[in-house]
Symmetry: C2
Subunit: 642 residues, 2 copies
C-alpha cells in the first residue's frame, strides 16, 4: 500500500476476488459515486482479468460502500477525507463521512489486490485512515509547453490512485499562453502557438478532477515570465523593445485594468477557493533599466525592483480578493506587508515555509519535490514540509499553517510522450510523505511498495512503464533492441539543471534521445548499488554475489553486441563511448568482485587508476550518467591494497 | 510497406523528416481531410518523437496533398481508392481523385518512415497504387461478447493503417443483443446484459470509420443464433420451451411484422448500401421437431428445414430490398432461388464463392481468414478469394463478382483485453492478400514486413504488443517475470476449435491464463523453426548455429528458475509440466545440435525415444502448445542413426 494508512490491523486470511463479487452503494447517493464504482471495477477488471465491469453491479453484494452524506459542492481545503475499510474473508465494508473518503478507500482496496495460490485476493485487514496534510498536489506546467488533455487526464487518474488532492494547473509562461480567454481572445490567438485549452475543456478537466477527489488550482504567473502575453497585448509589457520583455509593467494603471478583467474571468471559470498568481523569479533589471519605470519609482519612493513587485503583488491580491478568491504565490510574494491570507508556495525550501508560518501565512512546500530534476525517490521521500530544523519550534497553530506540498512537473524539457515517466512512480513517494505519518520513513519499504504502485498505475492507463521501451525501439529502429535496453537500464539523465547545460533545448526540440527515454531513476542501478554496498561491508548473501556476477558479466559483454548497431541511427551514434564505458566499468567490477572473493591484495597503482577511470565514467556522457560506476567504485575501494 | 503497392519505382536518396516538415492540403477541401492531416501528424510525431503535431501545419510546405474532388456522401463499394505518392529527396507529393486515396497514401507514407544515420526518413520512391479487391473487411463480433468502444476505435485505426475498408459489425447472437433499438427497446433492456451500443455511439463509430475510409456494414444474424432476442420477445422464437429456443419462428406472420419494423429502423441507422442478415448454422431440428411448424411445412409443402430457411431468407431479402439495401448473408443463404443481388459471405471456402460467382451472385471470402482460430500469418496469407481451382475457369465478369474478403474476429473466447493481439498483426497479412497483386506471395518478405507493421501499429494505439507482458505480470504477480516470459515466448494457444474442448469457456470466464496471454503465433518459435530446418538441410550459417545454441541453452535452464515461482499464483500452477517439458525438449535439442555438429552416430533407440517424447511434448498441455518441440524433432531427425 502507498501511501501507508494512519492505522491498520491485519487479520488472518484473505478476501478472494472472483466473478461473484458484488458491490453495492448505500447511504447518501450521487452520480459521482456510481461513476467511482464503475471506475473502480474497470481497474479491478484490469488487475485481475475478470470482467467485473460487467458483473459486479448486478451480483449479490459482498462489498458494501456506505457514504454518510455529501461533500461540499466545491471541494474545500481541509474537508474530511477519512474512511474506514474493513476487509474480512467473507466481505468488505467501506464507509466514509462523504464521497471523498469513499474515493480514497476504493483506491486503497485496489492497491491491496494481489495474486495468490488461491486466486486474486486482498488480505483481511481493518484500516482507519486520514491524511496528515490537507494539501497534496501535483503541478503540471502547461505554460512552458502545452500538455494535451489525455496526458492531463491519465495523470489525474494516477493522482487519485495515490490520494493526491490538488491539481495545480499552470497555464502561462514566457513560452506560451495556453488557455482560452473570452474577454481577451488575442491571448490564445497570438500567444498560444495555436494550442490552448478551451473553457469547455477546462470545465471538463475540473469535473474529471472533482470525480477523483481533486481540486483544480489555476496559476497565471505574473508579473514576470509573461513574455507570451505581450504577443497579444504589447502594452502590458515593461520592456523598451516589444518582444524582448518578460515582465509586466507594474506602473501603468492600464495593466491593472486588464488584469482586473482577466482575473475576474478566470476566477469565474475555476470554482476553487484558491487562485495562484505566481510571482517568482523577477529579473528586476528590466524595470530598473527602464527610464519611465525609474521615474515612477522615484516619484513614488520605491527603492528597488523588489519593492515594486511588492506593490504589484498587493494590488493583485486586492483584485483576487475582490473576486472572492484566496491568493497564492511563490516565495517571492511573501514580504513584510503581505496579507496573512496569502498562501505561500515555497520553491526555496522548508525554512521559508516555517518563516511564513511564524509570520502568520499558510504555505505549501515544493522545494525538494521538483520531479523535473531527476532526483531519486528516496531523496524526495526524505523531504518533509515540517522538516526544517526551525519548524521544530513552531507552535501547533503555526504548524497547522503548513498545509502540505506539491510535486512540480515543469515542462521545459519534457514532452507529452515522456511526461508520465518523469512524474511516476516517484511522485507516489511524495504522496506518501504528504498523506502518511511523519515517522513513516523506511526507504527500503518505500521502494518495495513503490514497485507495486508503479505496476498498478499501468492499470490506470499511465504510460510511464511503456515509454522507455517504445523510445528505445524508435531510437534503434529495432522492434527488440536487446543490447540497447541493457545499456538504457543502467543510465539516468543528469540531476538538477545540468541536463539543460549539456544539451540545447528549444521550444520545438524533439525529446527522442536516450536521456529523454530512460526514467529519472535506474532501478537496476539502485539495486546493484545496494548489493555492492553489502558486498563491500561484508554483509552480502550468496545471491548478492551471484547477482553482481551475472549483471557485471552482462554489462561487460554488452558492448560487443551493441557497438555494431549504434551507427545505424542518428539517435544512437553518440552512445559509442557510453557503451564502451559500461563494458570497461563492468570489467573493473568483475575484477574487484574476484579480488574480494579471494581476499586478494591489489596493487595500489592499479586500484588508483581504476578509481580514476570510474570517476571519469561517472561523469555525464551523451547527456546520460552511467549509474553503475559509483557502485563499482564501492567494490574497488573495498579491495585490500598494498 | 504492407500491403505492397501495385506499382513503385525507387530512386536514390531519401526524404528526411525533421522539425521543418510542412504539410499543405490543396485542391478539394473538406474537414475530413484536415482531420486526416492532424491524425497523420499525430502518428508521425509518435514515430519520430518530433512534435510535428504542433509545427507541421504552420511550417513552409514541403509535403503537398492534392485532392481532386469529393468522394461520395456514403462511401460506396468500388469507389476509386487509388493514389499517387511521389517522394523525392526534397519533397513529397501525394495526389488522389478523392479523399479515400489521400487517406491510403498518407498511411503508405507512415509505413515507410524509418530511422537512419542521418535522421528519420523515407526512401525516394514513386508509388501508383490501387487495390486488387474492393471489399477488404474485418468483422468484429459484438454479438457473442460486448466489445467496448475504445477497442472498436483502435481497431478502426489499425484497419486504416493497412487499408482495410469495411468494418463488419455484428451485434447479436444467442449470447446477447448489444445495440439500442428505439422501436423495440426491450431488446437492449432484456437481452443485452446491460451493455449495448446506443444509437448515438453507433453514429459516432460510423463517422469515425468514414474518417478513415471505412464502411460500416451491420449484421443481425437471423433466423438462428437468436436466443437472446427471445428474452425480450419470446413470441419470435420457435421453441416449445421459452429460453431454450435459438431459432426464430419462420412460420408466423408476426415474426415478419417485427422484423420489418426492426430492419427498417436499422437500415435507417446504418447508411451503407449493404445489410447483413446472417443466416448461418441453423439447427433444423428445432423446427422439424415442433408440431406447429411441422404442420405449416406440410400445408405449404416445404420439404425440410433448409427449404423453410430458404422461404425465410426470401422474405427477409424482400424487406431488406424495400429498405433500399442490398442483402448479405453467410453461405447458407445461397440457394437455387436466391436473388442475384444477394452478396454471399463464405465461411465454407473459396469453392462456394466461385460457385456463387458462376451462379451470378457476388461474394466475399472469410473461410481461411478466421483469425480467432490461431492460424499462422503464413496460413492466412496463402488463402486467396480466387484461389480455388474451380475459380480458374471463371470468366472475368464472374471473377469480378468475387469482391474480396473479411478477417473475422469471433469473440467466443476473446476479451476486450486480448482482442488486439488476436487481430494484429496477422490481419495485416490478410489485408495485403486483398489489396496487393495475386502474385505477391513471398512468405519471408511478408513476415519481414509484418514485423515492421506490427511495431508501427503501436503508434496508432493498438495494444497487441503490450498485452502479453501485462498479462504475464498479472499472472505471476511479478513486475518483471523474466522466466515466465521465456516460456510464454515459445508457446501458442492450440489451433482451430481445440482450445474450447480443452477448457470450459462460459460467458463470464476470465480470460487471464497463458493461452489468453500469448499471441496466436510465436515469432521466436517461427524463427527457431526456420533455423532448425536450415541446420537439418545443411544450409545453416554460423549465426544460425550460434542462435540455436543460445536459445536452447536459455530454454533448458529456464525451468530451474521458473519452477519455484509457479506455485505462487493460481494462474501459473498448471504450467509445471509445460515448463519442465521446455527444459527437456531443449536438452534433447542441444544434444541433437552437438551430434549434428560432430556428425556423430546416434543410437536408433535413443533417437526413437526422443522422437516419442517430442511428439508427446508437442501436444497441448495447460491449453498451450510448446511450439519448439516440432523444430527440435526436425533436428533429431537430421542426426545420423545406426
Amino acid at each position: 500500500m502507498m501511501p501507508l494508512p494512519s492505522q491498520s490491523t491485519q487479520a488472518p486470511g484473505e478476501f478472494l476476488i472472483n466473478g461473484s463479487l458484488g458491490i453495492e452503494l448505500t447511504g447518501y447517493a450521487e452520480p459521482r459515486l456510481e461513476r467511482a464504482r464503475q471506475r473502480f471495477l474497470d481497474v479491478l477488471s484490469r488487475e485481475t482479468g475478470i470482467p467485473l465491469w460487467r458483473e459486479a453491479v448486478v451480483n449479490k453484494p459482498n462489498f458494501t460502500v456506505h457514504t454518510e452524506g455529501p461533500s461540499l459542492a466545491v471541494q474545500r481545503l481541509g474537508e474530511d477525507e477519512s474512511y474506514r475499510l474493513a476487509i474480512s474473508t467473507s466481505g468488505v465494508q467501506l464507509s466514509a463521512a462523504n464521497p471523498l473518503g469513499v474515493l480514497h478507500g476504493l483506491q486503497t482496496f485496489l492497491l491491496l489486490v494481489r495474486v495468490t495460490p488461491k486466486g486474486f485476493g486482498v488480505p483481511a485487514i481493518t484500516i482507519e485512515d486520514k491524511p496528515r496534510f490537507p494539501w497534496r498536489g501535483l503541478l503540471i506546467d502547461s505554460g512552458h509547453r502545452f500538455v494535451r488533455l489525455p496526458v492531463i487526464k491519465r495523470n489525474l487518474d494516477a493522482m487519485e490512485a495515490v490520494k493526491l488532492n490538488v491539481f495545480h494547473w499552470r497555464f502561462s509562461d514566457d513560452a506560451g499562453f495556453h488557455i482560452e480567454s473570452k474577454r481577451f481572445p488575442l491571448l490564445q490567438e497570438k500567444a498560444s502557438g495555436g494550442f490552448y485549452y478551451t473553457q469547455e475543456e477546462v470545465k471538463e478537466i475540473i469535473a474529471y478532477a472533482r470525480d477523483r477527489g481533486i481540486r483544480v488550482v489555476p496559476e497565471f504567473d505574473m508579473p514576470c515570465h509573461t513574455a507570451s502575453w505581450f504577443h497579444a497585448y504589447p502594452e502590458l509589457g515593461s520592456g523598451h523593445i516589444p518582444g524582448e520583455s518578460s515582465a509586466m509593467d507594474p506602473t501603468r494603471e492600464s495593466t491593472y485594468e486588464f488584469l482586473n478583467g482577466f482575473i475576474e474571468e478566470m476566477a469565474d471559470l475555476f470554482p476553487d477557493a484558491y487562485f495562484h498568481t505566481g510571482g517568482d523569479e523577477c529579473d528586476f533589471h528590466e524595470w530598473e533599466s527602464n527610464p519611465r519605470i525609474q521615474e515612477y519609482m522615484r516619484v513614488h519612493v520605491i527603492k528597488d525592483g523588489a519593492a515594486l513587485q511588492a506593490e504589484f503583488t498587493a494590488k493583485i491580491q486586492t483584485i483576487v480578493a475582490q473576486n472572492k478568491k484566496i491568493m497564492m504565490g511563490w516565495d517571492e510574494v511573501l514580504l513584510p506587508g503581505t496579507p496573512k491570507e496569502v498562501v505561500i508556495q515555497s520553491w526555496r525550501g522548508p525554512k521559508s515555509l516555517a518563516d511564513a508560518a511564524r509570520n502568520g501565512n499558510r504555505g505549501i512546500l515544493s522545494s525538494g519535490y521538483y520531479i523535473d530534476l531527476n532526483w531519486s525517490a528516496a531523496e524526495h521521500y526524505a523531504v518533509d514540509p515540517l522538516g526544517d530544523p526551525s519548524a521544530a519550534s513552531l507552535t501547533s497553530e503555526e504548524k497547522a499553517r503548513v498545509l502540505g506540498g506539491e510535486a512540480t512537473m515543469w515542462t521545459d524539457i519534457v514532452s507529452d510522450e515522456n511526461l508520465d515517466n518523469r512524474v511516476w512512480p516517484r511522485t507516489a513517494a511524495i504522496a506518501e510523505r504528504l498523506w502518511s505519518a511523519a515517522d513513516v520513513r523506511d526507504v527500503d519499504s518505500m521502494y518495495r511498495r513503490l514497485g507495486v504502485v508503479s505496476q498498478k498505475l499501468g492499470y490506470y492507463g499511465v504510460r510511464h512503464r511503456l515509454i522507455t521501451e517504445e523510445m528505445l525501439e524508435r531510437m534503434s529502429g529495432d522492434p527488440n533492441p536487446v543490447a540497447l535496453r541493457v545499456l538504457a537500464d543502467v543510465v539516468q539523465p543528469p540531476k538538477g539543471y545540468e541536463r539543460q547545460q549539456l544539451r540545447n533545448f528549444g521550444d520545438f526540440t524533439p525529446m527522442n534521445r536516450l536521456d529523454d527515454a530512460v526514467p529519472p531513476e535506474s532501478e537496476t542501478a539502485r539495486v546493484f548499488d545496494d548489493i555492492a554496498r553489502r558486498i563491500a561491508a561484508g554483509k552480502a548473501t550468496p545471491e548478492d554475489w551471484q547477482q553482481a556476477q551475472t549483471w557485471l558479466t552482462l554489462w561487460r559483454d554488452n558492448d560487443a553486441r551493441l557497438q555494431p548497431l549504434l551507427a545505424r541511427s542518428f539517435l544512437t551514434q553518440d552512445l559509442v563511448s557510453v557503451s564502451r564505458n559500461l563494458s570497461e566499468v563492468a570489467t573493473i567490477g568483475l575484477q574487484a568482485l574476484d579480488d574480494l572473493k579471494h581476499d586478494r591484495l591489489v596493487s595500489a597503482d592499479v586500484r588508483s587508476q581504476n578509481i580514476d577511470f570510474l570517476n571519469a565514467a561517472a561523469k555525464p556522457q551523451a547527456v546520460v550518467l552511467l549509474m553503475i560506476a559509483p557502485s563499482v567504485e564501492t567494490l574497488v575501494k573495498a579491495t585490500r591494497s598494498n
